[in-house]
């Protein structure tokens, strides 16, 4: 029985012991949990655990060639994040990180839609505490928006799953079509978490508000779980190619004008997801391999970049480009690790991004999609511009710094060192990554054509940037907010809705308060160890969540 539990489950359950352990014991225990969970990956492919409840088979543990690469890299990310956060004595964050990673890993092994739904929501409820860990008013508010949207995604998934079960007689997690209502609802659920255009606001809104450790954990799991789910159920769905191309294209421009470097990375994350979504849309064996390889490499180099900016935040107190610069003198190791992450994401030959992205570009070439190919080619130059150059340049160089800061703590350096090592190792020895991909494909990324073409693109984009800086054409960074799709629900809807639905507002307010009060009563009785600020935010979040749930249950009833 124990052998057949899904990987990640032990991390999710084991997290409940963390509050009772001392600081050092906690770190060791968490690493032990990750290693123990990884041990379950050796069970081999197939369905290992099914539970029958009321004549319905919950497929709790199913692993195959698609879930494996994601599961491996999720374990690596969890391991690195634990080391990265070892300097902090914060059991709440520890619990959140380990249970969140565990839920995401278990979700990869769900064989049916309802099991997936359970873990889908579990990732939302565990990760919201990472956003709250930012410990600022902005973070609390962002956490509220985050949980409503994440649970909203779950409700779409639940509605889709119920309809799917109703019309097909089973709810197996397999290939689906967006032509059915059920398929469309599930597609939307995945799309919200994969940050499709106009559904992406939550990502740039919340990730930069978490603590330095929280952001690293957040960047690894939720969105890549969505990519996995898309690859599982919507591979070869044409519209994904166009959605993905838009995702690679638009965030570039926003990243250029954004001042907060962690938010720049969030835009860049969105752009990288676009590459994976395009690959899933193509759906050939080479393309799915590309999506998986890109997700694998991306989690590590994006984690590395977020870690380096987290170190900057920890030491310099901000990640705003307008207030940074010149840190290379004081944080030389962090600078080197950041540059390695930047070169990986820019897909320089001998770095991990190159061997992963080449698969996607080649699969596009094979399909004869000229326009999409060149949009992605353009996006590659864009990645270099904002993640490859802007991040290291404005954080560590740009201008001289007056105040001294210390180098990052040793545990942060070790975590960044491991990630940097993996970025280079994957780039130099791609065959080990290719071996764990879903399909056996003979592919050689290091051809003279690929290397020269990519180097020309990148180096000439660099020289263009250098000329812009040299001739003082590159504008200095300005403290600002850049509008994103979250504007619709943060400004536009309240702007229209408040005066128009004042009366309804009053009604929902009272409902809100009542729900909130009753929840607070429950909490105050059983939640002695929590501080009040957590309750303050979770109260309206849960009230909002319950409202959304009621609405969706009504929707399902109407549709059925």
């Amino acid at each position: 029985m124990i052998n057949s539990l899904p990987p990640g489950f032990i991390m999710f359950i084991g997290a409940f012991l963390i509050p009772f352990l001392p600081k050092l014991g906690r770190q060791i225990y968490m690493i032990f949990l990750v290693l123990l969970s990884a041990f379950f990956l050796f069970n081999g492919f197939g369905t290992h655990l099914t539970i029958n409840v009321l004549d319905y088979n919950f497929i709790i543990n199913h692993s195959d060639n698609l879930s494996l690469p994601f599961a491996i890299v999720f374990h690596i990310a969890a391991f690195i994040t634990i080391i990265y956060g070892a300097h902090k004595d914060d059991w709440k964050e520890n619990v959140a990180v380990i249970s969140y990673a565990g839920a995401a890993i278990a979700a990869l092994h769900a064989g049916d839609l309802f099991t997936l739904f359970f873990w889908w929501e579990a990732t939302a409820f565990t990760s919201v505490f990472l956003v709250l860990g930012g410990n600022t008013t902005r973070a609390y508010r962002a956490a509220f928006r985050y949980i409503v949207i994440q649970v909203g995604s779950g409700m779409f998934l639940l509605a889709g799953a119920v309809l799917f079960l109703y019309s097909n007689g089973n709810a197996l997690l397999g290939q689906m079509s967006i032509d059915d209502t059920s398929g469309l609802l599930i597609f939307l659920a995945f799309g919200i978490k994969a940050a499709f255009p106009f559904l992406n606001g939550w990502l740039q809104d919340t990730y930069p508000e978490a603590s330095e450790v929280g952001t690293v954990a957040l960047s690894s799991f939720t969105t890549k779980l969505a990519i996995y789910a898309l690859a599982r159920s919507f591979a070869g769905t044409d519209i994904l190619i166009y959605i993905g191309a838009l995702m690679t294209f638009f965030p570039i421009f926003f990243a250029v004008i954004e001042n907060d470097l962690r938010r720049v990375l969030a835009y860049s994350l969105n752009n990288q997801l676009g590459f994976m979504v395009v690959a899933v849309g193509i759906g050939t064996e080479l393309a799915i391999n590309g999506a998986a390889a890109h997700a694998f490499a991306h989690i590590i180099y994006k984690g590395l970049l977020f870690m380096s900016m987290g170190a900057v935040l920890y030491r310099a107190g901000t990640t705003k480009a307008s207030e940074l610069g010149g840190l290379y003198k004081y944080m030389p190791f962090t600078t080197i690790f950041c540059i390695i992450g930047a070169m990986s994401i820019s897909a320089f030959p001998l770095f991990s991004g190159f061997v992963a992205k080449s698969l996607i570009m080649s699969s596009l070439g094979g399909m004869g999609m000229v326009l999409i190919y060149f949009i992605l080619f353009f996006a590659s130059a864009g990645v270099l511009e904002h993640s490859g150059i802007k991040i290291p340049y404005f954080a560590f160089f740009a201008h001289e710094r007056k105040n001294k800061v210390k180098e990052a703590p040793i545990n942060m350096l070790i975590a960044m060192g491991i990630a940097a090592f993996l970025c280079i190792a994957i780039g130099v020895f791609p065959k080990y990554l290719y071996q764990i991909l879903p399909y056996a494909v003979e592919y050689q990324p290091y051809t003279l054509d690929h290397v020269i073409s990519q180097l020309q693109l990148l180096v000439f984009a660099i020289i263009a940037f250098l000329f812009l800086v040299k001739f003082k054409l590159y504008p200095s960074e300005i403290r600002s907010t850049v509008l994103n799709s979250d504007w619709f629900y943060r400004k536009m809807l309240p702007g229209i809705g408040k005066p128009l639905f004042k009366k309804i507002g009053l009604l929902t307010d009272s409902l809100y308060k009542n729900l909130g009060l009753s929840f607070k009563q429950v909490l105050s009785k059983s939640y002695k160890f929590s501080n009040l600020s957590y309750i303050k935010v979770t109260t309206p979040s849960f009230a909002g969540t319950i409202l959304i749930s009621i609405l969706f249950i009504m929707l399902v009833i109407v549709l059925v």
Partner: protein
Amino acid sequence: MILLKLIKKFGKINSIVLFICILLLLLEFVGHRHGEFKIEEFLFFPALFGYISCIVIFKVGVALRSIFMRDEDYYD
């Protein structure tokens, strides 16, 4: 002498990158560079594409500032 003057004018890092650029352009003549599409095989295509893309991204980004940029406490 002229080379030293140029390096002084452009700065060390710029000169090194410029040197790599020239080297990469010369590599075009080593053999025929195959691309996924015919247009990619044009002489210096990726180089021009990279250079122009970077300028376009920067120009469009700056232009978008007037539309999408607000005060830092816009939402507060």
